[in-house]
């Protein structure tokens, strides 16, 4: 736990020093230390404190967080160097970025639902300045919507927590473990109401429809490394709350209701994103809608039970890795052409070869073309549908995915091989490409060959939910 003093210390240094170079050192060293610490707590140590513990479900999430944070920190250095930013905002960015990461880590590890709520809400406040970072009218609007809608969503989640504590009224505590081990009979109605509020409340933050409106705005207006963090890690952090309550639903035999709700929200998210991805031309928004779509897929996977839960966990991993890579790469394209419309960009393949390749690969990955991890998970979901004879859901699922596929390929082709002519090839920095390469290696590498340690972690997580 002492580790968490470190980010605080770093941010304090950044805040007092207000020197750009120190900020870069802080970003790198913090992310490296973060990665080391994560590997330590996941693979070696057995953290089990009163309020915080690394259990089976938080392990995959922690690993994703450290990888994505590492690559976005590297990219942030490029991002900050490229721009003329005054020292104050420079250090605000560094500070918020670091603290944001540690808060998410803490909320992933917290086993007390009240504390989890507090930490999750704190991430909203910390990311608001990051979203506002560009200081344009649009970013202002996006930040306002983000803070406001998420606060309301989280407050709805709090009502859910109140209902949970009514449900488990004799246990006098809000620890998840006490919920799971509750021995008195529980009122099925209250548990259902609690789950309903929690899935809507935390689902707001996780980007599930119908309260997803903030997501495309915030993700498209935030700086690219921040979008990557938001999309790849913050949504997961909110998802883990739903998953932890879902386990209680399994234990008290209410999974039918829970799964129906998850399925409903999942398909709603899929539908919304499929409709919008076809219509819009702003590639960052398309990526944001794709995040909604993927969260929908995860919800559907969790809802289908059995092997579907494993698929959901795998999909979480692959979505985070690939979406982070996509957002970071979109930052390159945005910097080069200064437009968010994919019609107006030049031929990326000609202007920026590496960026083009990375972007193309990430799109292939997110569209579940083998050997990406997404293929594995979506294939598993399909097979669960088939074995459960849910042909209607399967066809619907396929159909919506195909629509998304079409939208993405259209965007990709227009961007890669556009007609517009821009001036000569510009130099690409190593920091512009390296982070995404790292993410892609993980995403495709795990799809091709999964080490037994990683496999065990994923399986443990899946068993933890269903058990």
């Amino acid at each position: 736990m002492l580790y968490f003093i470190l980010p605080l210390l770093f941010s304090l240094i950044s805040f007092t020093a207000k020197r750009k170079n120190i900020d870069y050192i802080i970003l790198v060293s913090n992310s490296v230390l973060n990665a080391i610490f994560t590997v330590y707590i996941v693979f070696i140590a057995n953290i089990n404190l009163k309020y915080f513990a690394v259990d089976a479900i938080s392990k995959p999430f922690l690993l994703i967080l450290s990888i994505v944070f590492f690559s976005s920190s590297l990219y942030s250095i490029y991002f900050l160097k490229k721009r003329e930013i005054d020292e104050r905002w420079h250090s605000i960015y560094t500070l918020c970025f670091i603290l944001f990461d540690s808060l998410m880590m803490l909320s992933l590890m917290s086993v007390h639902i009240g504390l989890y709520w507090v930490l999750l809400e704190a991430t909203t406040i910390l990311t608001a300045p990051l979203i506002y970072f560009n200081k344009t009218k649009h970013s202002l609007e996006a930040a306002w919507k983000y803070v406001f809608i998420c606060s309301i969503g989280i407050a709805i989640g709090f009502i859910g927590i109140i209902f949970l504590s009514i449900t488990f009224r004799h246990s006098e505590s809000l620890f998840f473990a006490d919920f799971y081990g509750y021995s008195d009979p529980v009122s099925s109605l209250f548990l259902k109401i609690a789950f309903l509020f929690i899935i809507v409340g935390f689902g707001t933050k996780a980007g599930l429809a119908p309260l997803h409106f903030w997501l495309p705005d915030a993700h498209s207006e935030a700086p690219s490394p921040v979008s990557a963090m938001l999309s790849a890690t913050l949504l997961n952090t909110a998802m883990i709350g739903i998953i932890r309550v879902l386990k209680a639903m399994y234990i008290f035999k209410e999974q039918y209701f829970a799964n129906t709700m998850l399925l409903l929200m999942g398909f709603m998210s899929l539908f919304v994103s499929a409709v919008f991805i076809l219509r819009i031309k702003n590639y960052k928004r398309i990526l944001a809608y794709s995040s909604i779509e993927n969260m929908g897929i995860i919800a559907v996977a969790l809802a289908s039970g059995g092997a579907g839960i494993l698929a959901g966990i795998i999909h979480t991993v692959s979505h985070s890795l690939l979406k982070a890579s996509l957002f970071l790469t979109s930052g390159n394209i945005l910097d080069r052409y200064e437009t968010k419309h994919y019609d107006e960009t030049g031929p990326v393949m000609k202007d920026m070869k590496m960026t083009g390749i990375v972007f193309g690969l990430s799109v292939f990955g997110i569209l579940a073309i083998p050997p990406s991890l997404s293929f594995l998970s979506e294939f598993k979901i399909m097979s669960v549908f088939i074995s459960g004879k849910n042909y209607f859901l399967m066809v619907l699922f396929m159909l919506l995915l195909t629509v998304v596929f079409y939208g993405f390929i259209k965007m990709l082709l227009t961007m890669m091989f556009g007609e517009k002519d821009f001036s000569a090839v510009k130099k690409e920095y190593i920091l512009q490409i390296l982070p995404q390469m790292l993410l892609l290696i993980f995403a495709f590498g795990l799809g091709l060959f999964m080490p037994s340690a990683v496999k065990q972690i994923l399986l443990d997580a899946a068993n933890w939910i269903g058990g």
């Binding site: 009240g114 809400e121 406040i125 009514i166 009224r169 009122s187």
Partner: protein, 211 residues
Amino acid sequence: MYYGLLVLFALTVIYFSVTSRLRAYVNALAAQGVILFLIVLVNMKETNFQSVILILIETIGFKTILIPYILNKIIYQNEASREIDAGLSNFFSILAMIAIFSFGFILSFWTKEVLEYSNPFHFGVAFSSIIAGMYIILTKKRLITHIMGYMVFENGIFLFSLTLLKEMPLIVNLGVLLELFMIIFVSGFFVTKIKESYNDDNIDNLTDLRD
């Protein structure tokens, strides 16, 4: 006493639809803080000094003094004194509020067998205040009013959490307070910024981002 306080709380919520002066909204919020404090006091089973102090800070300190102070400051900075005339007249606002409260009471009356745990009238007021907060957010035009609607929403949740016989753990309580304060602070900052760049804090300005 207890019933009277609940009714007073409900009346402060309805007051939001009677007037359109922003200062009046802030005063209503401050009054709500005091009423919540009294409700907690009346409900308290055993008086212990520590929890009284905590509740005092939570309700009077934050909800009655600090947050209204910040809100007044924002109002002063934005040079706004009235809610922008929406298409909706106050008459329909009151009608909607009455409908919300009737709905809340009917719901709580209807579920009183299941809710043997709590006082149905209390439940009704709390639940209706939550919905009323949502209603304020949905129908009013100014962003600053949205923040106040959010506060009504939060106060409703606070009242709702009192239906439990046990209290929330200290750490959660403090966390909730801090968050609330920060949210008001951050959104106040954004309101001021939006006012600077749009010359107005009308929600209708914020429609650039959509698909």
